[in-house]
């Protein structure tokens, strides 16, 4: 196995770690199976690709993708909370609708981001070139790290987002969001509207998912309409591995565990796919996920009851 293969696998895993942090909010904190993900991931990609091809700075395109994702989450929340549509169906409706919305935003099914003609991305821009050198062998302060520049940028972003999330979940609002997923009735008893908390959680989650989609197109230098396929599973697998495997380690925060889970899972997928056709990817993703679920289930004592009476399922 060569180093560059491993490097690019870890880089991709880093991008998906941010997706997983979003899925963690809905799936684990809110206890809401949100299928919006397969639509909000490419939404961030579409928004970013369009803005970048128009010459807009990635520093604007990336926050824009966050906002777009939050808007998608808001709609899913409103469909579920105000129109009383079941959680799974609300996500399916949004995911389906977003497919076309993404097409309309991008204008076509495939939108390349040609950095060679001067478009800037988070990974290719004058600042990065200045720090790491524009080409191999250039004199620059960090030129010895040039190979790892993408990884370093992603690492910094992940750490930043993770810390922000940890801080948020220590605030009063963060506590209330956790309470909403844990015991909806208590939120009402605290004189707060649980529906609003659900909507807020969906907004935060999909903002992160969309942001991950934004990084994804910048990394691949292209937006594809089908970028969203299978992303829900990637996020879920990361969360389940992270929480069930690494979450047991005492000093690890759940967010850290999820990030490690994402990297583990995506490395496994990459290794399994090393010599396979790219189109086999979804089967491998799904099969590995199934394996993870089965393994996580076996690890539970038979019919363990959750304290609130529901049977525990991963």
């Amino acid at each position: 196995m060569n180093l560059s293969f491993l490097l690019s696998a870890v880089e991709q895993a880093g991008i998906f770690a941010i997706l997983a942090l979003g899925v963690y909010i809905t799936y684990k904190i809110l206890d809401f199976p949100d299928l919006t993900v397969d639509g909000s991931f490419p939404l961030g990609g579409a928004v970013t690709a369009v803005l970048l091809t128009k010459g807009v700075s990635p520093l604007i395109a990336m926050p824009a993708s966050l906002l777009a994702g939050a808007a998608a989450g808001f709609l899913t929340g409103v469909i579920h909370v105000k129109m009383k549509v079941r959680d799974l169906l609300a996500g399916i409706i949004m995911m389906t609708g977003l497919y076309s919305v993404n097409f309309l935003i991008a204008g076509k099914a495939n939108l390349p981001i040609t950095t060679s003609t001067g478009m800037k991305t988070l990974f290719v821009n004058p600042t990065v070139s200045g720090l790491f050198g524009a080409a191999r062998g250039d004199e620059a302060p960090l030129s010895f790290l040039r190979e790892y520049r993408v990884l370093i940028l992603l690492f910094l972003l992940i750490v930043l987002l993770k810390i922000l999330m940890d801080l948020f979940f220590r605030t009063k609002l963060g506590y209330l969001l956790r309470a909403e997923g844990d015991n909806e009735r208590l939120v009402s008893l605290l004189a707060r509207d649980g529906g609003t908390m659900k909507i807020l959680g969906l907004m935060l989650a999909n903002a992160l998912v969309s942001f991950s989609g934004s990084l994804y197109v910048q990394y691949n230098k292209a937006f594809n309409l089908t970028d969203g396929t299978g992303k829900m599973v990637i996020g879920l697998a990361a969360v389940v591995i992270g929480i069930n495997l690494f979450g047991k380690i005492r000093f690890l925060r759940p967010t850290t565990a999820v990030v490690i889970g994402a990297v583990t899972y995506n490395l496994c997928v990459a290794l399994a796919l090393k010599n396979a056709d790219a189109n086999v990817k979804n089967l491998v993703t799904a099969a590995l996920f199934l394996l993870v679920l089965a393994a996580a289930y076996i690890r539970l004592p038979a019919k363990k009851k959750k304290e609130n009476g529901k049977e525990e399922q991963v």
């Binding site: 948020f168 220590r170 605030t171 009063k172 609002l173 963060g174 506590y175 209330l176 956790r178 309470a179 844990d182 015991n183 009735r185 208590l186 939120v187 009402s188 008893l189 605290l190 004189a191 707060r192 509207d193 649980g194 959750k306 304290e307 609130n308 009476g309």
Partner: protein, 258 residues
């Protein structure tokens, strides 16, 4: 009056063969400072009455007035601004996956904006310890334990404390000792009485335990088929015994032919 139910009508499954007119022109009121115990056979409408007061169930007629404000049709979470409630099920009053400390912090912030300020500091932790210690359940030494791993009695004690941490118009208790073993139930009942006295609370307690109804509270109501068939207080309440209540229960059952 801190609470009035005026001409309340509640029909379950209207227009079907299962139609059940539970309340028809039901009137009930509670004064500030009262501690009312409600007893009655299963299905007499006790829980439904509490649900109507809290807005967990809509009504088909009449009005619910709380502290002078007409709350008819208002969401439950709006009414809970001034109502505390403890359910029969000890799992409903706390968050199982959050710690004792975190649950206490949530409860203390009831009625406040829940903004982006941090929820718990060292000072708050000390304050919560002092609130938990008098319960005598050792919770003050288990601040960082998940509430889900506590016993039913410990959780119900926490639910009780949490629902009375902030100022209230009144406290609602729906058979809050019924899911506990007799000894724990007794502990929780004594604790309830103490909290109601110490905090000078107005309380409405449904209980299946006739002895509790006789021993505790300042007023006693017996419900039957959506009506209050006994409503006594003061000296009359003090004179009433469990046997008196049993007698009434028995005569109702005979009337109904079972």
């Amino acid at each position: 009056m801190i609470l009035s139910l005026n001409h309340v009508r509640k029909v379950f499954n209207p227009g079907t063969v299962d139609e059940n007119v539970l309340f028809d022109d039901f009137n009930f009121s509670m004064e500030k400072g009262e501690f009312i115990s409600i007893v009655g056979s299963n299905g007499s409408g006790k829980t439904t009455m509490l649900n109507i007061i809290c807005g967990s169930l809509p009504i088909d007629g009449g009005e619910v007035v709380i502290a002078g404000k007409n709350m008819t049709g208002k969401h439950d979470f709006i009414r809970y601004r001034s109502i505390g409630r403890v359910y029969q099920d000890p799992t409903l009053g706390t968050c199982p996956n959050m710690t004792v400390l975190e649950n206490m912090a949530l409860a203390e912030n009831k009625g406040k904006p829940f903004g982006l300020g941090f929820c718990v500091g060292k000072k708050a932790e000390e304050r919560y310890r002092e609130m938990l210690a008098p319960l005598g359940l050792g919770l003050e030494d288990r601040m960082h334990v998940r509430v889900g791993s506590l016993s039913g009695g410990q959780r119900q004690a926490m639910s009780l404390l949490m629902s009375t941490m902030t100022p209230l118009d009144f406290l609602i208790l729906d058979e809050h000792t019924a899911a506990l073993d007799p000894k724990t139930a007794e502990t929780i009942m004594i604790l309830t009485d103490r909290i109601v006295r110490e905090k000078n609370l107005t309380a409405l307690m449904v209980t299946h335990n006739l002895r509790y109804a006789v021993e505790y509270g300042s007023r006693l109501v017996m419900m039957h088929e959506g009506k209050a068939i006994i409503d006594i207080k003061g000296e009359e309440k003090k004179r009433t015994t469990v046997d008196d209540l049993l007698g009434t229960f028995y005569s109702i059952s005979v009337e109904r032919g079972n």
